[in-house]
């Protein structure tokens, strides 16, 4: 329980918080905290439109939802907690004020509390990873769950960067996660080209989730009601002392070339002719 007090203290002092906690000390799983990053993205089912000025994707009047891989990450964290391996699940979202809606979804699924790191520009993975590192230093979780990628930028980098910044082990593309209470390790199956790879990582660790890990639950009315009284803490980049300078500049966003409609050919000869003279493939 001293561990718990430590967190409180470090939160109080977070402005001058600048040392890395000695993570090697043993975790008590019954008090373990899981941090889950949830990203607000253009809904999976929405047809993406690029802004006419090519600076990005149009999000005006567009349905936004939780990134599906983040949903899976959150679901896994909740299952671990329900199985008695963790005490608290904290959802964190970084972005504009509407991220609170995404956090509410997370709370309605069962997360215990939310952290909203307010930021009005959209960040690339390294910045997000730095923010998450700072948060991890404040929150001191035993596990950080992230989706393997966000469906908007498809970067597939954040989880790996967080692990590297924290110096924690990482297990990416998880399709199965098993915690060992006594040994403080997580055994993770990952889907790789040749089949399944099984890793064993010491906690604390970063796990990123793949599609087949689980089927996320729905937000039920009783849980939506409970979520209303769960806290969402607002934090700023200054609070976390993160330098948001990015080395990457987005030059242009364009739509993929439109697929031309096909034609029905009337004979094999015509097909061969078209393949030769129009498609130039034979």
């Amino acid at each position: 329980m001293s561990h718990h007090r430590l967190i409180v203290r470090s939160q109080e002092k977070r402005k001058c918080f600048c040392f890395v906690l000695p993570y090697s000390f043993s975790f008590c799983h019954r008090t373990m905290k899981i941090l889950v990053a949830v990203k607000r993205v253009v809904d999976y089912a929405v047809k993406i439109r690029v802004k006419p000025d090519k600076t990005g994707v149009d999000t005006q009047n567009v349905k936004m939802s939780m990134n599906p891989f983040c949903e899976i990450a959150l679901e896994e964290a909740l299952r671990i907690k329900e199985a008695g391996f963790a005490k608290e699940v904290v959802a964190v979202s970084i972005g504009p004020s509407q991220c609170v809606d995404t956090l509410r979804t997370g709370l309605a699924m069962g997360a215990d509390r939310g952290i909203h790191v307010e930021a009005n520009s959209s960040f690339l993975p390294l910045t997000i990873a730095k923010i998450l590192r700072s948060l991890a230093e404040v929150e001191n979780p035993g596990l950080i769950f992230l989706g393997k990628q966000a469906i908007d930028d498809d970067c597939n980098q954040t989880g790996q960067m967080v692990a590297a910044l924290l110096g924690w082990p990482q297990a990416t593309f998880a399709s199965k996660v098993v915690l060992d209470n006594d040994k403080h390790v997580a055994t993770v199956d990952r889907e790789v080209d040749g089949g399944l790879e099984t890793l064993s990582v010491d906690l604390p660790a970063v796990i990123t989730t793949d599609l087949r890990l689980n089927q996320p639950r729905y937000a039920t009315l009783p849980n939506i009601m409970k979520a209303k009284s769960k806290p969402i803490k607002k934090m700023t980049l200054e609070d976390l002392k993160v330098d948001i300078k990015s080395d990457i500049e987005i030059v242009e966003v364009t739509e993929p070339p439109k697929r031309k409609s096909g034609v029905i050919v009337s004979s094999v000869d015509e097909l061969i002719d078209k393949l030769k003279n129009e498609a130039h493939v034979v």
Binding site: Y44, S65, M66
Partner: protein
């Protein structure tokens, strides 16, 4: 032409000798049994001789699905009716001159004689009704429709207008050898006014394509239904389709602002107005909305569409009893009125059916409950709409009207909730035989008929109730292992009488087609039907347009 004959399944006795003679003498006659079990056998050159003595067993041997032998059989499981449908002897039969003429007008490739394509066009979506047309015509414009109809009228060739062929009452397929006229090639959007939202298009446009087109303009169609990927706007108008958004946008009688139709003799009626208000004389377009192709072929439609609103929310909730469903409906109208866009219900039997027969479907509610309701809201402000919906549902939960529920957090979840409701028809088809009724009833009566039928049928069948509760529209479905006269005898005319007694409608939105043409009197007075028949005679004196459908034949006998 292949020799063809229709037979009844098992009760020749009740018709006595006369109907037997009829059956033998008429090559093309549909005879409908008292129980409404209408079967058709195609026997190659050999007429089936019913044997009054042992027909039951004999016929049963030849029931579809049991015998895949020489006799090619198919079936129509119509409704209960003591009358018979006979091919109108006044109609001509198609000959080679007709075909050449059509080719001249339409071009070779739009005159379809290909057996495979005809097989599809002759068979309805449920595979319950099947005609034997030898010709399908695909006109490309109004002028061609007019020429074709004018010719058919002068030759007395019967025709069946066909759209996407998703109709559920056997209206879109021929009964005998009617020429199929499908306007599917007439699929162009003609105009869209972004100020008024009025869309003008040809009748063969597929509903979903129109919806996609409008989506790019920031608008939505005022109707949506499970068949959207196939049904035509012309078919929707001709059936006055209701669907999932009626509670919000009203019926097509309100949203269709104008149309163009071609009557039997080829007359083109230009009623393609785009005005919301136009009180000049009789509003005749309404005759073509819901008349199921019996008065003319709809060729163009002008329809009022609505701006697409940014926020759509969907809840899937569970209720213990039907009374709670009713109360929630009343409360939802009061509390969500301005954003309510769908209010659908299904019972647990329907849910089980879907879970058992469709892949990848799960019950969003963790423990099963007697009733489920889908409530959709559509509005302009995501945050306030959602808060409103949540507050409403939480209040209902506190009042114990709702026992559990979920709110979709993304479109994917919403689609999976809709999949349950929209998948029922598909699941029914996979489950085996089913009898389908589409009733309008006072909301408080809706579930009584389901319970009454369960009592009547006991273990014989699975009775399911679902539908557009917000519109007082029940889809009553009875699923059995196979079609069976005894069961049908227990259902009909009971269902129709019950509906009539409660001043309901025996067709809320699917139409009458061939299934319920004779049943119209359960919902309309004889005087009214007589006037309908007069209108039909006026617009189509030779009766070539979609014969045997919508109105009882008896109103046309000399």
């Amino acid at each position: 032409m292949m020799m063809q004959k229709w037979r009844r399944s098992g009760d020749f006795i009740r018709f006595g000798r006369k109907s037997l003679t009829n059956l033998r003498s008429k090559e093309d006659s549909v005879s409908r049994s008292v129980s409404g079990f209408v079967n058709c056998c195609e026997s190659k050159g050999k007429l089936f001789e019913p044997n009054a003595g042992n027909h039951n067993t004999e016929l049963d041997h030849r029931c579809p699905g049991r015998n895949l032998g020489i006799m090619q059989q198919y079936k129509c499981f119509g409704s209960s009716s003591a009358s018979q449908i006979q091919r109108n002897p006044l109609f001509s039969s198609l000959d080679s001159n007709d075909v050449s003429y059509f080719k001249e007008i339409l071009g070779e490739k739009n005159v379809i004689e290909d057996e495979e394509r005809l097989e599809t066009a002759n068979t309805d979506w449920m595979h319950k009704y099947k005609g034997s047309s030898k010709l399908m015509l695909l006109p490309k414009n109004t002028e061609e429709v007019s020429q074709v109809l004018n010719y058919c009228d002068s030759r007395r060739l019967a025709v069946v207008p066909q759209g996407g062929n998703t109709g559920l009452v056997g209206g879109s397929v021929p009964v005998f050898d009617e020429v199929i006229i499908n306007v599917g090639l007439m699929n162009k959007v003609l105009a869209f006014d972004e100020v008024s939202g009025v869309l003008v298009c040809e009748a063969g446009c597929i509903l979903e394509n129109l919806a996609n087109f409008l989506d790019t303009k920031g608008f939505v169609m005022p109707l949506d239904l499970g068949a959207k990927g196939s049904c035509h706007i012309g078919g929707n108008v001709s059936t006055n389709a209701g669907g999932l958004r009626l509670i919000r946008y009203g019926s097509l009688h309100g949203t269709v602002l104008g149309l163009e139709a071609v009557t039997a003799n080829g007359n083109v009626l230009d009623m393609l107005g785009t005005l919301r208000k136009d009180n000049t004389g009789y509003d005749l377009k309404h005759l073509f909305i819901g008349s199921e192709g019996s008065l003319g072929i709809v060729t163009k439609v002008s329809i009022l569409t609505q701006p697409k609103l940014a926020s759509v929310n969907l809840a899937f909730i569970a209720c213990k009893d039907y009374l709670s469903c009713q109360k929630i409906l009343v409360e939802a109208k009061k509390n969500l009125g301005e954003i309510l866009s769908a209010f659908e219900f299904l019972d647990n039997n329907s849910m089980d059916l879907v879970l058992n027969h469709l892949d990848g479907v799960r019950n969003p509610i963790s423990s099963s409950e007697n009733f489920y309701i889908l409530i959709e809201t559509t509005g302009s402000d995501e945050t306030s709409d959602r808060e409103k919906l949540e507050a409403f549902l939480l209040k209902s939960l506190e009042k114990r009207l709702v026992s559990d529920g979920v709110i979709a957090q993304d479109i994917n979840q919403a689609s999976s909730f809709w999949r349950i409701r929209e998948g029922i028809t598909e699941a029914l088809q996979k489950a085996g035989a089913f009898y389908k009724y589409d009733l309008s009833l006072p909301v408080e009566e809706i579930y009584n008929i389901v319970n009454d039928l369960r009592g009547r049928l006991g273990d014989l069948a699975n009775v399911m109730g679902y539908g557009h509760l917000g519109d007082g529209n029940l889809h009553l479905n009875i699923s059995t292992v196979e079609y069976n006269d005894k069961i049908l005898g227990l259902i009909e005319p009971y269902v129709y009488e019950w509906t009539s007694k409660h001043r309901g409608s025996i067709s809320a939105e699917h139409g009458l087609g061939v299934m319920k043409a004779n049943e119209i009197l359960y919902s309309k007075s004889p005087e009214t039907v007589a006037l309908m028949a007069s209108i039909k005679k006026l617009l189509d004196p030779k009766g070539i347009l979609n014969p045997y459908k919508v109105l009882p034949q008896s109103f046309f006998s000399p």
